[in-house]
C-alpha cells in the first residue's frame, strides 16, 4: 500500500456498509486507519533505541437501537472487510429490514494547518542528532545533572471514515513530539525536571523550538528542585502560571462535560445547562480547529469536521461535548468530539484542545495581590471522579508565595479539589494566555492526544498535599 492511495476503494466501502447494515441497522460505519510511527530514545548518554511501527486496519460498527456491534481487523482486503462487517452485524443482533445506505458524500474539511516537512521524509540521522545535542546541553547546565533521557517521536495517521448517513471523510494527521527528563543528584537525593513540546506538525517543529534550550530548562528545573523544601499542607490560595495549568480545567470540569458521562448520570454537571457554574471570569472553550495544537484535526474519528465549542461562557454552562452516537439519541448534531485511540477502539466523547480564555489582570498584579499561597508554574497529570467532581493533579514545578512575592521552590506534591467548587473560587484571570505541553488523555482505557491552555489565574481553597509539618 502506498501512502497516498485511498485506504479503501469507494466501491468496496459501499459493499462493506451494505454487508454491515444488511441484517437490520440504524447506522453502520467503517473506520480505516494506517499509522506509521518512529521514535528514538537517548538514555544514559546513548541512543539506545530507534524503533519503527506500522499499524493498519479497520473497525466496523453497527448500531441497532441502543446496542452497538463492533469488530476490527488488520486485513484491509475486500474479503477481510466483508468478513469483519458480518461479525459486527452479528454482534449488534439486528433484526427487521435492511438499511439502505445513503449515497456517500465527501466531507470537505480543511486541515487546521499545513504540514511542511513530513517526518517520514526526514533522514533518521537528523532525528537522532537532536537527542545528542539535547543530552550535551542538559549535562552542561550543571555538574549535579546525573542522568538525561531524551525522546523523539513522530507519527502519521491516515484515516478514512464512511457511514450509512452518507459521510465519507478522510484525514491525514501528523504529530511530532520531543521530550527530555533531566535528573539532578545532590545531598537531598534525586530530583527530576521535564520539558516537552509536541504539535500537530512535521519536522518543522524544530525550526520553532531549540532542543538545547529545552534541555537547559529541564536541567535547571531539576537543579532548582534540589534546593526545594517540602510543600506545605492544607487549604490555600494557589496561583497557576500561564500555560502550565490547563490540566486543571481538563479534570475539574472537562470530563464532567462529556455527554456520554452526563447521560449516564455520572456527572455533577448534569441538568445544569444555563446555570452559573463558574466564576464570571471563566470562559472555557474546547477547540479541535486550533492549528498545530496537539489535539487538533481536520475531521474527528467519526468523520465530523473539527469545531470550536464554547462550553462555559462567563461562568454560565453553555453546552456539553458530543459524539455522533450520543448526539443522534438527542436529535442534535455532534460537536466534533468523537475520537478513538485506534481502529481497534469504539469512538467516544473526548476533549480536543481545552482552554480558558484570557482576562484583564497582568500576572504581576495577580501575584502581588496574593498575600500568601503557592505559585504553580507547571502542573503534572490529573484524575477526576466525574460523579462527585473530586479531582487531583500533581504540581511538578511550584514555589511559595510570601507577601505577594514568589520565594522558595517547593518539592512535588498533589493538589486536590472539587471541580464545581474550584470553578466558583477563581478570582483572578491574567492577560497572558498560553497553551501548555502536549498531553495524553486516558478514558476507559483509551488514550488520545489533547492540548490545554490557561492564562495566569488564581483560585482559593485547593488542598495541597505536602509533607511540611
Amino acid at each position: 500500500m502506498t501512502d497516498t492511495g485511498p485506504l479503501i476503494d469507494d466501491d468496496v466501502i459501499a459493499k462493506v456498509l451494505e454487508a454491515a447494515s444488511g441484517r437490520g441497522a440504524e447506522f453502520a460505519e467503517v473506520f480505516a486507519e494506517d499509522r506509521r510511527s518512529s521514535s528514538a530514545v537517548l538514555d544514559d548518554a546513548k541512543v539506545e533505541e530507534l524503533t519503527s511501527g506500522r499499524d493498519r486496519g479497520a473497525g466496523i460498527r453497527v448500531v441497532v437501537g441502543n446496542s452497538t456491534g463492533f469488530a476490527h481487523t488488520s486485513d484491509l482486503s475486500e474479503a477481510g472487510l466483508l468478513a469483519t462487517a458480518e461479525i459486527a452485524a452479528a454482534a449488534a443482533r439486528g433484526g427487521g429490514g435492511a438499511l439502505a445506505p445513503r449515497e456517500l458524500r465527501r466531507v470537505d474539511a480543511a486541515r487546521p494547518n499545513a504540514i511542511e516537512v513530513l517526518p517520514g521524509d526526514v533522514d533518521k540521522a537528523r532525528k537522532v542528532e537532536l537527542l545528542g545535542r539535547a543530552d550535551a546541553a542538559a549535562r552542561a547546565a550543571g555538574s549535579s545533572i546525573s542522568q538525561v533521557t531524551a525522546r523523539y517521536s513522530d507519527g502519521r495517521r491516515r484515516i478514512l471514515v464512511a457511514n450509512t448517513d452518507g459521510t465519507l471523510a478522510t484525514d491525514d494527521q501528523v504529530r511530532t513530539v520531543f521530550s527530555i527528563v533531566s535528573v539532578a543528584s545532590g545531598d537531598t537525593g534525586l530530583q527530576t525536571g521535564r520539558e516537552a513540546v509536541g504539535h500537530t506538525v512535521g519536522f518543522e517543529l524544530f525550526d520553532r523550538y531549540d532542543v538545547e534550550e529545552l534541555a537547559r530548562r529541564s536541567a535547571e528545573r531539576a537543579i532548582t528542585k534540589l534546593l526545594a523544601r517540602p510543600a506545605p499542607s492544607g487549604q490555600m490560595t494557589v496561583v497557576i502560571g500561564s500555560g502550565g495549568g490547563g490540566v486543571m480545567f481538563h479534570e475539574a470540569c472537562g470530563h464532567g462535560l462529556e455527554a456520554d458521562l452526563v447521560a449516564k448520570g455520572a456527572s455533577v454537571f448534569r441538568d445544569r445547562i444555563g446555570e452559573q457554574v463558574a466564576s464570571p471570569l471563566v470562559t472555557l472553550v474546547d477547540d479541535g480547529t486550533m492549528g498545530g495544537e496537539w489535539g487538533c484535526f481536520a475531521v474527528d474519528d467519526e468523520g465530523r469536521p473539527a469545531q470550536r465549542n464554547t462550553l462555559i461562557s462567563e461562568g454560565v454552562l453553555v453546552d456539553y461535548m458530543w459524539d455522533g452516537l450520543r448526539a443522534r439519541r438527542e436529535g442534535r448534531p455532534s460537536s466534533g468530539n468523537g475520537r478513538r485511540q485506534s481502529y481497534q477502539h469504539l469512538p467516544m466523547v473526548r476533549m480536543t484542545n481545552t482552554y480558558l480564555l484570557g482576562g484583564e489582570s497582568t500576572p504581576e498584579e495577580i501575584i502581588a495581590d496574593t498575600a500568601d499561597g503557592v505559585y504553580i508554574a507547571h502542573l503534572g497529570g490529573g484524575q477526576v471522579n466525574t460523579a462527585t467532581g473530586d479531582f487531583v493533579f500533581g504540581m511538578t514545578e511550584a514555589y511559595l508565595i510570601e507577601s505577594g512575592r514568589i520565594t522558595e521552590p517547593l518539592r512535588e506534591g498533589n493538589l486536590i479539589g472539587n471541580g464545581p467548587e474550584v470553578l466558583l473560587n477563581i478570582d483572578a484571570v491574567g492577560n497572558d494566555f498560553a497553551m501548555g505541553p502536549p498531553g495524553t488523555c486516558g478514558k476507559d482505557g483509551q488514550g488520545v492526544p489533547v492540548g490545554d491552555g490557561v492564562p495566569t489565574l488564581r483560585v482559593h481553597g485547593l488542598t495541597i498535599g505536602g509533607t511540611a509539618a
Binding site: R56, G57, T192, A266, L379, Q383, N414, I416, G466
Partner: protein, 449 residues
C-alpha cells in the same frame, strides 16, 4: 486470516532470516477478544476482535534496531524486518547489547488454556454482564444506576525465537468482569467500582464483585474533609499492592544502573520494616499473570525483592546484567511491540498473622483508605516523593468511624516502607495477578482543612 496459523513457525522463519554477523529475535503474538458492555439491561456494545503483532530486533556490530507492526502478513513482516535492520545504523554501539544466554534453568510449565472459556457463546457472555448489572441495581436502594457492567475475555498465543535457535511459546486465556456503580443518598452522588479476573468463568464471583462495588459507592456518604494531621493509614490489599508495585519499579536493574533509583547501592541493607517480605514469582500457579518464560526466552524463576525488610538483588534482564556483571534474573519484560525492558512480573507480599479486625483494633487513630487518586502524577519514582489524593474512613480508638474525603496523603516511598507497622493475614490475589494482604503504615502526613 487463519487463526490456526503456526505462530512458532512464523517466529522461527523470521529469526532464520538473520544475515551473517546479525543476531535477530522475533516476538509474534495473536489474540482474540470479546468485550461486552451492558447498560439498562441492553447490550450497549459488543466488540469482537482478532489482533496480531510482531516485533523484530536486529543486533549487528553491537548496535540494535527495532521495528514492530500490527499484522503478520508477509509484506508487512518483510517491511518490518527491513525497518529494524535500517534502524540499526542509527543506534549507538554498546558491547552489552545481545540476546540472552541460555542458563539451564528449567521452565515451570503452565497451561492457561481453557477450552470451555474459549468456546463460550456470545449469548452466555451477554447474560453474564446483564446478570451483573441486574444484581448491582437490586443490591441497595441507594444504587441509582450502573455506569458500566462489562464482561471481557481474551485468548492468545505468543511465540519468541532467536537466530541462535532458541524458540519458546506460550498460550493462555482469561476472562474478567468489571462494574461501576452510581449511588445517591438524597444529598450527594458517589461511585464505586470493582472487578475481577480469572482463568475460568466459573471462578469469577459476581456476588463478591457487586458487594464490593456497592460498598465502595455507599460507604462515603456524608464524608467531610478531615483536619490535617500525621497518622497511620490502613491500605487494603489492592492499595497496598499499588504502593509495592511502585517500589518494585524502583529496584529494577535499569533504574539502578541509570542512576534513577534511590535504592541504588542498598542491596543487602535493611530498607523496610522487618515485617515486610516481597517476592517476584511468575512461577506461582495461583497468579493469573503466571508465565513460563520472560521476554528473552529464559525460564521464569522466583526473585526475592525484600526479605524481612532487607533489599534483595536487583532485577535484571540480559542487558542490565551484562552492564553490571551479574546474571539475568529472567526479568525481561516485553510485548511484541516493544524492546525488552526489565521489571517485576508477579509480586507477592508474604502475609502476616494479624487478622485485619485486630490490626484496626490496635490503632488509636488512623485512616482506613478506600481509594487513592493521582498516583501517576503524585509519585516520583526517582526521588521517592509520594503525595496523592485519597478518601477513606477515620479510625478512632480501634474502630472504624466517619467517612472522609478530599484530602491528600504524603510521605516518601522510603519512609512508608520503613513505617509498615502491621501486615494482615488476608492475602488476596488481585486481577493484576499480584497478591498482597492489608498493610498498616505509620507517620503519613494527612492534609485536609
Amino acid at each position: 486470516m487463519s487463526a490456526a496459523r503456526d505462530l512458532a513457525g512464523v517466529a522461527r522463519s523470521v529469526a532464520e532470516r538473520a544475515e551473517r554477523g546479525e543476531d535477530v529475535d522475533v516476538m509474534v503474538s495473536t489474540g482474540r477478544s470479546t468485550i461486552v458492555r451492558v447498560h439498562g439491561g441492553e447490550v450497549e456494545s459488543f466488540t469482537s476482535a482478532e489482533s496480531f503483532a510482531i516485533g523484530i530486533r536486529v543486533i549487528s556490530d553491537h548496535r540494535q534496531g527495532f521495528a514492530a507492526a500490527g499484522s503478520i502478513d508477509p509484506d508487512v513482516i518483510a517491511e518490518t524486518l527491513a525497518e529494524a535492520r535500517d534502524n540499526v545504523r542509527f543506534g549507538e554501539r554498546d558491547d552489552c547489547f545481545g540476546l540472552a544466554e541460555p542458563d539451564g534453568v528449567a521452565a515451570v510449565e503452565h497451561d492457561h488454556w481453557d477450552d470451555a472459556l474459549v468456546s463460550m457463546s456470545a449469548d452466555e457472555k451477554i447474560e453474564r454482564a446483564r446478570a451483573l448489572e441486574a444484581r448491582a441495581l437490586a443490591a441497595d436502594p441507594r444504587v441509582t444506576g450502573v455506569r458500566t457492567a462489562t464482561w471481557s475475555d481474551v485468548s492468545g498465543e505468543t511465540a519468541y525465537a532467536t537466530s541462535r535457535g532458541l524458540a519458546v511459546s506460550e498460550r493462555g486465556a482469561s476472562c474478567s468482569v468489571g462494574l461501576q456503580v452510581l449511588a445517591h443518598d438524597g444529598t450527594e452522588p458517589q461511585t464505586g467500582a470493582a472487578g475481577d479476573a480469572a482463568r475460568r468463568s466459573a471462578d469469577l464471583d459476581d456476588a463478591r464483585i457487586v458487594d464490593r462495588a456497592v460498598e465502595r459507592a455507599t460507604r462515603l456518604f456524608g464524608a467531610t474533609k478531615p483536619s490535617s494531621c500525621r497518622t497511620t493509614i490502613v491500605l487494603e490489599p489492592r492499595l497496598a499492592m499499588t504502593l509495592l508495585g511502585i517500589f518494585a519499579g524502583m529496584v529494577d536493574g535499569e533504574s539502578v544502573l541509570k542512576g534513577r533509583s534511590p535504592f541504588a547501592d542498598r542491596s543487602g541493607e535493611t530498607v523496610a520494616s522487618p515485617l515486610l517480605t516481597l517476592l517476584d514469582d511468575p512461577t506461582d500457579r495461583r497468579s493469573i499473570a503466571a508465565s513460563s518464560f520472560d521476554g528473552e526466552g529464559l525460564a521464569c524463576r522466583p526473585n526475592p525483592l525484600l526479605g524481612g525488610g532487607v533489599l534483595g538483588p536487583f532485577l535484571q534482564n540480559s542487558y542490565t546484567a551484562r552492564r553490571t556483571a551479574t546474571r539475568s534474573t529472567a526479568s525481561a519484560l516485553r510485548s511484541a511491540r516493544s524492546l525488552p525492558g526489565v521489571g517485576a512480573q508477579v509480586l507477592i507480599v508474604q502475609p502476616g498473622t494479624t487478622p485485619v479486625d485486630e490490626l484496626i483494633a490496635g490503632l488509636d487513630d488512623g485512616v482506613f483508605v478506600t481509594s487513592l487518586q493521582g498516583l501517576h502524577s503524585g509519585v516520583n519514582s526517582v526521588s521517592g516523593d509520594f503525595s496523592v489524593g485519597a478518601d477513606g474512613l477515620m479510625i478512632a480508638g480501634g474502630s472504624i468511624g466517619r467517612p472522609v474525603r478530599e484530602f491528600t496523603l504524603a510521605s516518601t516511598i522510603q519512609r512508608m516502607l520503613a513505617q509498615v507497622l502491621a501486615v494482615g493475614d488476608d492475602l488476596e490475589w488481585l486481577p493484576s495477578g499480584d497478591a498482597s494482604p492489608t498493610l498498616a503504615i505509620g507517620d503519613v502526613a494527612l492534609s485536609g482543612s
